[in-house]
C-alpha cells in the first residue's frame, strides 16, 4: 500500500470523526441491529427532511425519563431498571432479559418484535406511540451498551 498524502489522511480522519460524532459508535453495531436502525432512519427522514441522525445520548435520556401517563409505569426503567445491562422485571415479577445488546445480542434484530414492543410499551408508558426519532435513538443507545 502506498503512503497516503498526509493532508488527505488528515481530511479522511476528520470525516470519520465527524461521522462518528453524528451517528455515535454505530460502526460497532451488529448487522441485525443496523437493519432495524436503518428502518427507523428511513422513517425519520420521511417525517422530517432535516433529520440529522440518531443520538445514543438522547436515547439514554429517553430510557431514563419519567412520564406522567401511567403512575404504575412512569419510565422504561420502571421494568428494565436504570442499568440496561441488568435483568429487569415485569410488574408481576417475571424476569426480563437485559436490554443492552452487549449482554443480550439478540435484542433489536427482529423488526416485527421491536415494533410490537414499542407499540405496547410506548402506549403504556407515554400514553401514545413513539416517533421514529425516539425509537431510533433508543435502539442506538442500547445497541451501543
Amino acid at each position: 500500500m502506498s503512503p497516503m498524502n498526509p493532508s488527505l489522511s488528515l481530511a479522511l480522519s476528520a470525516i470519520a470523526v465527524s461521522l462518528l460524532s453524528t451517528f455515535g459508535a454505530i460502526a460497532a453495531v451488529g448487522s441485525g441491529q443496523q437493519a432495524v436502525i436503518d428502518h427507523y432512519v428511513a422513517a425519520a427522514k420521511a417525517s422530517d427532511p432535516a433529520f440529522k441522525g440518531f443520538s445514543a445520548d438522547r436515547g439514554k435520556a429517553f430510557f431514563l425519563a419519567k412520564h406522567t401517563a401511567n403512575p404504575d409505569t412512569p419510565s422504561c426503567s420502571t421494568c428494565h431498571t436504570t442499568d440496561p445491562k441488568q435483568m429487569g422485571q415485569t410488574r408481576v415479577g417475571k424476569p426480563i432479559d437485559p436490554m443492552a445488546v452487549s449482554v443480550s445480542p439478540q435484542r433489536f434484530t427482529d423488526l416485527d418484535k421491536v415494533e410490537l414492543w414499542f407499540r405496547r410499551n410506548c402506549n403504556t408508558v407515554l400514553g401514545r406511540e413513539c416517533t421514529a426519532l425516539e425509537k431510533g435513538d433508543y435502539v442506538t443507545f442500547l445497541a451501543n451498551q
Partner: protein
C-alpha cells in the same frame, strides 16, 4: 424460593394437576391431554408468558377469557395488544379450556361465580381465595413474590 409445607402438600397436589395447563385428571385418576391444538397453547405460552405466568385457563370461565382477550390494549394498566389473528388463536384456546368448558373440571372452581359474572382476575375468584385465605399479606409482599398474580413466586412450575 420459599416453600411452605401447606403449598407443597395438599394444595400442591391439586394445583400441580391444574398447572399442567394442557392436562386434566380423568375419571380413573390418570392425566389426559385436553383436545386443544398444541400450537395454540404454544402461542399462548409465548405471547402471554412474555410478561407473566401463562395462567392455566381452567381457573376462569370462558366469558372471563373473552372479556380479557377483547381488550388487550387495556390489560391491567398495560397495552398488551397483539395482531387480530394471534389474539383469536389465544382467545379460542383460553375459552376452549376454560373452567366451564374443559372436561372434568371440579365444580369448586366455579363456585360463587354467578352466571353473569366475568371475573378478570383469578385472584378475585372465591375458589382462589378459599385456598389462599389463610396466607398473610406479608407473604405476598416478599420480594420474590411481589404480587398475588405471581403464582410461581411460591408454587413450582414454569
Amino acid at each position: 424460593m420459599v416453600r411452605h409445607l401447606f403449598l407443597g402438600t395438599a394444595l400442591g397436589t391439586f394445583v400441580a394437576a391444574v398447572m399442567l395447563a394442557s392436562a386434566w385428571a380423568d375419571g380413573a385418576g390418570g392425566i389426559v391431554p385436553i383436545a386443544a391444538s398444541t400450537s395454540a397453547q404454544e402461542t399462548f405460552n409465548k405471547q402471554c408468558g412474555a410478561c407473566h405466568m401463562a395462567y392455566p385457563p381452567v381457573f376462569l370461565p370462558a366469558r372471563s377469557w373473552k372479556a380479557i382477550t377483547n381488550d388487550l390494549a387495556h390489560h391491567f394498566g398495560e397495552d398488551a395488544s397483539l395482531d387480530k389473528a394471534t389474539t383469536k388463536i389465544i382467545a379460542d384456546y383460553l375459552m376452549a379450556n376454560a373452567a366451564d368448558r374443559a372436561p372434568g373440571v371440579p365444580e369448586g372452581v366455579l363456585r360463587g361465580i354467578g352466571p353473569g359474572d366475568a371475573p378478570l382476575r383469578i385472584t378475585d375468584t372465591p375458589f382462589w381465595n378459599s385456598v389462599h385465605g389463610n396466607i398473610s399479606a406479608t407473604m405476598f409482599e416478599r420480594p420474590e413474590v411481589k404480587t398475588k398474580s405471581n403464582c410461581l413466586g411460591c408454587h413450582e412450575g414454569n
